[in-house]
């Protein structure tokens, strides 16, 4: 074979194999094209979704919490701006040096600095880290002025719940706090997953949490691979929380809080006898809800917990006390309704009464002499009520008490209400497995023994007595302008003439000289109140003590003194407000609690009058018609 032939053969081989190689390459490129088609056409939708998932980060936006106002629109719970200093480490350079500079402007503890350094190490360099929250205005100003020297530092504005009336309303409003596991459980609200999101922790804030909370909005943010926000794509502000208006009168509430603060431990509530709307509700001492909204310290919280005057407990709804003589209206009414006793029924009070070998004492050791029903209420004669209670029996009394709202939760909209207790033979057999003694009826007739009531129940009782209607107490006036109040309550199933006898007795208590509350009467024409005092014994008086003379309240340690109670309504001729006051371990109801009830009811009516004048309306007709205090009182 010639060299030429060999060369030609080699070249043919090369050409053949070049074709093979080219074919292979063509096939390979076709494979690539096929793969491109698969990825970019067949699977395109799936990958588009994944790309959007990558790119778009949905951030929740917490809507502003709804305002809580009083009945006239005065804000009771608002959202305030809360200033924090934050630092972005990537802009700060030397973080420690910047923190030292900031430390000269606002106090930073070593713990703060350690936390900041730790947070910075844990976060991306562009993530803002909180240096200090809840800055005062001066601190904000100090930092703002020095911002040029503090690279990476800025002021962040957040929202914090604020309660302008502070302690005065904490038991009504409650407060907000971080959601607990219990709050999150079973809830699908995405807001609860937001760090720092606050939910209602008691009071109205808790009861109407859903309405106040609103609905979560969201921001669609474009983020990059490390989570840095590039831009905002869209924003849905969500549904702001709804405005909740209460039946509370902030001015009255404020006044009542001031008035009760004079006592060591007291509670009072005022309500409209026609609507049941709570005008003011106050338990003293109290706590500052703003502290809780900001996050209260351990020591401060322990101090509140351990205080024997129980500042954390709303005594109006959760304090259960023997009602004492404030219960007597119900015993009287039960007797009249039974038909066994009428208003003219007279009992002679020698200072005690014998029953089954026991001697039951009247509070006045010397006795009241001959009493009729009105007089017995006016003087709070215990023996009279022993007598009629013995005649009608416990079941009638208990039934009447329940009609007037005692012995069970009345259902106010704030959590924590206690039911109290109205005992009867059936209850005793069931709960204590013991038979009922006649003597217990006598004790119960004057609101002692097993009988327990809350101040709220006493106020409801008084309102129902005054209006004759089965009003329900409530705090909610409207949500976002939707009114919920009504005056259309069913009447109480008692004869009006019987009710009139009891009201006459209550009138005599405060408006007839000699009545237990006469010294605390309201002396303003048209604003007079009617009421009933009560002193609830919290200790057992031994026979030995009786023989040597019952010790006065003043000589006892605070915890053993009687509770002072007073229930009242005003004005007498056209009842509008009912009030219940308790001063824990305060002593005598007429002497201690009655003046408070008087001041509150007077203030209540004065505020109304002042508002009527401001509104340039004719003054209420009550001012023009002098109302004589009912003269006929059963003075012994």
């Amino acid at each position: 074979m010639s060299a030429f032939d060999r060369d030609a053969e080699r070249q043919r081989m090369l050409s053949r194999r070049t074709m093979v190689l080219g074919g292979l390459q063509g096939a390979a490129v076709a494979t690539l094209a096929g793969r491109l088609y698969y990825l970019q056409i067949v699977e395109s939708d799936r990958y588009t979704v994944l790309a959007e998932d990558n790119r778009i980060s949905l951030r929740l936006v917490a809507p502003p919490r709804g305002l809580i106002t009083d009945r006239f629109g005065v804000p009771l719970a608002v959202n305030e701006q809360n200033f924090s200093a934050i630092i972005v480490s990537e802009r700060a350079g030397d973080v420690q040096q910047i923190l030292d500079e900031v430390g000269k402007l606002i106090p930073l503890t070593e713990t703060d600095e350690r936390r900041i350094q730790r947070d910075i190490q844990r976060s991306r360099s562009f993530a803002p880290i909180t240096i200090k929250e809840n800055l005062t205005w001066d601190q904000v100003a100090a930092i703002e002025v020095n911002l040029p020297d503090l690279p990476g530092v800025s002021i962040d504005v957040g929202q914090v719940r604020s309660y302008p009336f502070g302690e005065a309303l904490s038991h009504v409003l409650g407060y907000v706090g971080a959601a607990s596991e219990k709050d999150v459980e079973g809830s699908t609200d995405p807001l609860l997953t937001l760090p720092g999101f606050r939910v209602g922790k008691g009071g109205i804030e808790k009861q109407y949490d859903q309405a106040l909370r609103g609905a979560a909005g969201n921001r669609q943010l474009e983020v990059n691979a490390v989570g840095r926000v590039i831009r905002e794509l869209s924003r849905d502000p969500g549904q702001p929380g709804r405005e909740v208006a209460l039946t509370i009168d902030a001015k009255l509430q404020h006044y009542m809080h001031q008035r009760l603060s004079a006592e060591q431990s007291a509670a009072a509530v005022v309500m409209d006898v026609h609507t049941g709307g709570i005008q003011a509700l106050c338990s003293s001492p109290s706590f500052d809800p703003n502290q809780f909204a900001m996050g209260i310290g351990y020591d401060a919280y322990q101090a509140l917990l351990k205080d024997e005057r129980t500042p954390l407990i709303n005594k109006v709804i959760a304090g259960q006390y023997p009602p004492g003589s404030t219960f007597k209206m119900l015993t009287a009414l039960a007797a009249l309704e039974s038909g066994i006793v009428d208003a003219d029924h007279r009992v002679y009070c020698p200072g005690h009464m014998e029953l089954g070998g026991h001697r039951f004492h009247c509070w006045r050791r010397g006795g009241h002499g001959s009493m009729d029903m009105v007089g017995s209420l006016m003087h709070s004669c215990d023996v009279y009520f022993y007598d009629i209670a013995g005649r009608i029996g416990m079941d009638r009394i208990a039934e009447m008490a329940r009609k007037f709202g005692l012995g069970g939760r009345v259902g106010l909209e704030i959590p924590g209400e206690k039911p109290g207790l109205i005992p009867d033979p059936k209850w005793k057999r069931r709960a204590l497995k013991q038979p009922w003694h006649q003597g217990e009826t006598l004790i119960a007739s004057m609101g002692q023994g097993y009988v327990l009531t809350t101040p709220l129940q006493l106020a409801v009782m008084t309102a129902r007595l005054a209006s004759g209607k089965a009003i329900q107490p409530h705090l909610l006036k409207s949500i976002e302008g939707q009114f919920t109040e009504t005056t259309e309550w069913p009447g109480i199933d008692v004869k009006p003439e019987n009710l009139a006898v009891v009201l006459k007795g209550m009138n005599a208590v405060t408006n007839v000289p000699g009545g237990t509350g006469y010294r605390a009467r309201i002396n303003v024409a048209g604003m007079e109140m009617a009421g009933k005092s009560g002193s609830a014994q919290v200790r057992r008086i031994s026979m030995a003590e009786r023989s040597t003379g019952v010790r006065s309240n003043e000589s006892l340690p605070w915890r053993e003194r009687d509770h002072a109670l007073f229930v009242a309504y005003a004005p007498v001729h056209a009842p509008k407000y009912a009030c219940a006051v308790i001063v824990e371990h305060g002593g005598g109801g007429g002497a201690v609690a009655a003046p408070i009830a008087r001041d509150i009811l007077l203030e209540c009516q004065m505020l109304d009058a002042a508002r009527a004048t401001v509104a340039q309306q004719p003054p209420p007709s009550t001012d023009t018609t002098p109302v004589p205090p009912p003269a006929e009182g059963g003075t012994p």
Binding site: A3, R6, E9, R10, Q11, M13, L14, S15, R17, T18, V20, L21, G22, Q25, A28, V29, T31, L32, A33, R35, L36, Y37, L39, Q40, I41, E43, S44, R46, Y47, T48, L50, A51, E52, N54, R55, E222, V223, N224, A225, V226, I230
Partner: protein, 383 residues
């Protein structure tokens, strides 16, 4: 392109040589490079700094280098084939000894102005050396196994050094390009079958003993990219998302979310085609593939027109090289083969790869310009 009847273009004057340069090919190369500039501009979020501008400078330098190489007589290159191979071998050894650490692999020699990657240059000098060796080989020669031992050693030495760096991608490319050279030279089919089956047997063994952990990871990731979406599989998963979300028409220039929000890793180097596909869709990616295939086609045409074996083999070897770059890179970023660090020449940001590929184009053009020179069987023609 006029056919030189004389059969000897050694006498071509400078201007005649200039006229012989296939300017349409040069234009095509420039066009592909411009696509690269655009993508680098986009990778920097619409800025020439830091990548596009530097790449332009490199390409311009490379263009000059290419034309210079093209003008040099092919016989000089043939003469230089072994010395250049030897020089790059020395550099490869130097890299293994003194190379700076980069990405866990010793690949670069820092010359101050450029970080030299000898393995990239070896892709060219190896093809040159093999073309030189097989230039004089008759089919009888290539049929004898002893004759094949020398070229096998020529291939094995650099492959071993590159594997030691370790750089799996480049060693694979060296092996495959060399295999193509052997194949084109007429080595029998059954010999390839033998070697391939031997390799298949060796794979499980090398898996156990030779591969580095990160290489094993990459292969495992390839087999199941979703098993570890935030780890080693992340790159491929994100790359596929970028391809897929591009769809038919793409998201538009500078609008690729996967790339601009940094979900796509290494977008200016290995994954630049992903970005192109995301921003220009299937239409753009297929168009680009076709453009690149035209470069390959030119390579085949140049080989076909050449009248000496060295030129044909060199042209085909360089073309195979270019094809391997394209295929390995694109197949990798689409999840067809494991992740191996192979750039897309002319498009990816990178100094040596750009210069190496321009040198390759220079040699290709030189083959074309000197397609008709006379060469003796023993090697050198009458220069």
């Amino acid at each position: 392109m006029t056919l030189d009847i004389s059969g000897d273009s050694a006498a071509l004057s400078f201007t005649e040589k200039l006229g012989q340069i296939p300017w349409s090919f040069v234009l095509l190369i420039t066009a592909v490079a411009c696509v690269g500039f655009a993508m680098l501009y986009s990778a920097a979020n619409g800025q020439f700094d830091p990548w596009a501008s530097r790449q332009m400078v490199r390409f311009t330098v490379g263009l000059g280098l290419m034309l210079f190489i093209a003008m040099v007589d092919i016989r000089i290159w043939m003469k230089m084939a072994y010395p250049l191979y030897g020089l790059v071998m020395v550099l490869l050894i130097g890299v293994d000894l003194f190379g700076s650490m980069g990405k866990g692999a010793q690949r670069w020699i820092d010359l101050g102005f450029v970080q030299l990657q000898p393995s990239e240059i070896m892709k060219i000098t190896l093809v040159m050396a093999l073309a030189r060796y097989f230039h004089g080989a008759s089919l009888e020669d290539t049929g004898r196994i002893p004759f094949l031992l020398v070229p096998l050693a020529i291939v094995a030495a650099p492959v071993a050094l590159v594997l030691a760096q370790p750089n799996l991608g480049t060693s694979m490319m060296l092996i495959m390009a060399s295999g193509a050279m052997f194949f084109l030279s007429g080595v029998r089919w059954w010999k390839f079958a033998l070697v391939i089956s031997a390799v298949l047997i060796a794979i499980p063994l090398s898996w156990q003993f030779l591969l580095h952990d990160y290489q094993r990871d990459r292969v495992e990731t390839f087999l199941d990219p979703d098993s570890d979406p935030l780890g080693t599989g992340y790159h491929i998963t994100q790359s596929k998302i970028a391809f897929g979300s591009g769809g038919l028409m793409g998201k538009g220039f500078l609008q690729g979310t996967q790339s601009h929000l940094n979900f796509l890793p290494e977008k200016q180097t290995d994954f630049i085609f992903t970005m192109l596909a995301e921003e220009f869709g299937l239409v753009g990616s297929i168009s680009f593939l076709l453009l690149y295939c035209m470069l390959l086609l030119f390579g085949f045409i140049i080989a076909g027109r050449c009248r000496h074996q060295f030129g044909r083999l060199l042209a085909l070897g360089l073309t195979v090289n270019l094809f391997l770059y394209l295929f390995i890179n694109v197949a990798m970023i689409m999840g067809l083969i494991p992740v191996v660090g192979v750039p897309l020449p002319l498009i990816s940001y990178g100094g040596t790869a750009t210069l190496a590929v321009m040198v390759g184009f220079g040699l290709l053009i030189s083959v074309h310009v000197h397609r008709d020179v006379r060469m003796s069987r023993r090697g050198l023609g009458d220069l």
